[in-house]
């Protein structure tokens, strides 16, 4: 009965980027770590991503993008979370980012960025350390 609450994580690919190998690898690594992963496939708009995150009540959104379109989609996701009073849902990113973009993404609230070559073990450990399932609601 004292089983720990499951972490729920949304893995989403914003924009027209079709590189989904990384997202799938991460989804599998998270499943193997005992998390529940909602995978929605490619070509997601920020609106779709945020609505899904809310309906699924995830603790974390992981955005995967290798095409460079993060400059629009990442800030928009953060904006929509704020508009929907859902800023307590953490956001991380993975994929390919120009060096100078990373501090900007962190400044808008993206908690961490993982680039090609990032070890799955390190990513899972980061999640275990930084993301906790939220508390119970009270009727």
């Amino acid at each position: 009965m004292s089983e720990e609450r499951k972490l729920r994580i949304l893995i989403a690919k914003p924009g027209l980027d079709g590189h989904d190998r990384g997202a799938r690898v991460i989804a599998r690594a998270f499943r193997d770590a005992g998390f529940e992963v909602i995978y929605t496939g490619c070509h997601q708009t920020p609106e779709q991503i945020v609505n899904t995150a809310i309906q699924e009540d995830v603790d974390l959104i992981g955005l995967s993008i290798l095409s460079g379109a993060h400059r629009y989609s990442f800030p928009r996701v953060m904006e929509l979370l704020k508009e929907n009073n859902a800023e307590d849902i953490a956001v991380i990113g993975g994929g390919i980012f120009p060096l100078e973009d990373i501090p900007k993404l962190k400044a808008i609230g993206i908690k961490e960025i993982f680039e090609p070559g990032a070890k799955l073990e390190d990513i899972v450990n980061w999640v275990r350390t930084h993301i906790k399932p939220r508390k119970a609601m009270v009727a």
Partner: protein, 318 residues
């Protein structure tokens, strides 16, 4: 507004959060369920089951679209398996439902089985309660689709749709016993593939042989050919579901009342089982009896499971 008021007003965030607490079996969720229960009974519940990959999610996506065109709101519960080795899960049913993500009239929740057998999750019925209370007109439930005896959906849904595909002849033979008896409607999806006619014939034979539901006397289970990807056969499926709904609600043999009572009974028994177990374990612990210690004694043959339970019940339920 408190949590329950928010849900009754259709608040998505509040609803989503309560569903999580229900899934995690938090005792606090019971309080909300108690208050929501009086507001249920309006939604029509449709179950979709069938082997993995036959096209359940694609069908659910298409039907959701049709119900939205009719101005009805839709709740979707889509179940995928939990890995028995890691306890984790990849829930991918949403991939087929992307076009509904920004429609506020559709609420989708992906669920992991978390070790529960029978095709649904432990939480499915309570989640239906919440979606019903929040005002969804139609609730579509997609089972995990293990293909063998995921028969719980038959007790949970008002109409159960069993989905197969062409070329599953042997499979139909294998699954016929349990699963044939839960479908109110049969769908042969992927009709673009070879062998669809043959599969329909086989299904017809099995139905004629009497492999069919016992509790909808007077209903002829239709077999619908669909190509879910392209939307072919969807109007016919909608029509069949509507006919079955009318069959249940408009006949004078009390079949609707029986279906509603069956759901209520299942919910009652499930809750009793859960709560009784939880309470008995709690009392056991409170008396200083440790579950692990009892397991040890049973393993060592110092006692047996039957004696342990008998003693426990005698002691606690005198």
């Amino acid at each position: 507004m408190n949590l329950v008021e928010q849900i009754l007003a259709g608040d998505v965030r509040a609803t989503a959060r309560l569903l999580r607490d229900i899934d995690d079996q938090l005792p606090s969720a019971r309080e909300a369920l108690k208050q929501l229960y009086p507001h249920t009974g309006k939604a029509y519940i449709i179950g979709f089951t069938g082997s993995p990959g036959v096209g359940k999610s694609t069908l659910v996506d298409q039907l959701a679209l049709e119900y939205r065109k009719q101005g009805l709101t839709v709740g979707i519960l889509a179940i995928d398996p939990t890995s028995p080795f890691t306890g984790g899960a990849i829930l991918g049913d949403r991939i087929r439902m992307q076009r509904h993500f920004t429609d506020s009239g559709v609420f989708i929740r992906s669920l992991a089985t978390r070790g529960h057998f029978g095709g649904l999750t432990k939480s499915t019925n309570d989640m239906i309660t919440v979606l019903d209370a929040m005002g969804k007109d139609v609730i579509l439930v997609e089972t995990v689709g293990v293909g063998q005896d995921e028969v719980d959906v038959a007790n949970c849904a008002h109409t159960t749709v069993l989905v197969t595909i062409p070329g599953m002849g042997d499979e139909i033979q294998a699954i016929k016993a349990g699963i044939m008896e839960i479908g109110n409607i049969f769908v042969v999806n992927k009709a673009d593939r070879e062998g669809s006619r043959k599969t329909i014939r086989e299904l017809k034979n099995l139905i004629e042989l009497g492999l069919r539901r016992r509790d909808d006397e007077g209903w002829e289970p239709p077999i619908i050919e669909t190509e879910a990807l392209k939307g072919r056969g969807i109007p016919e499926l909608m029509d069949a579901i509507e006919k079955h709904r009318r069959f249940l609600t408009e006949n004078d043999r009390g079949q609707w009342d029986a279906v509603v009572a069956k759901r209520a009974k299942m919910q009652l028994l499930d809750t009793l089982r859960e709560e009784a177990l939880r309470e008995l374990l709690r009392r056991m612990e409170a008396r200083g009896e440790n579950l692990d210690e009892l397991v040890r004694k049973v393993t060592a043959k110092e006692t047996d499971p039957y004696t342990v339970v008998q003693d426990l019940l005698q002691c606690e339920l005198r």
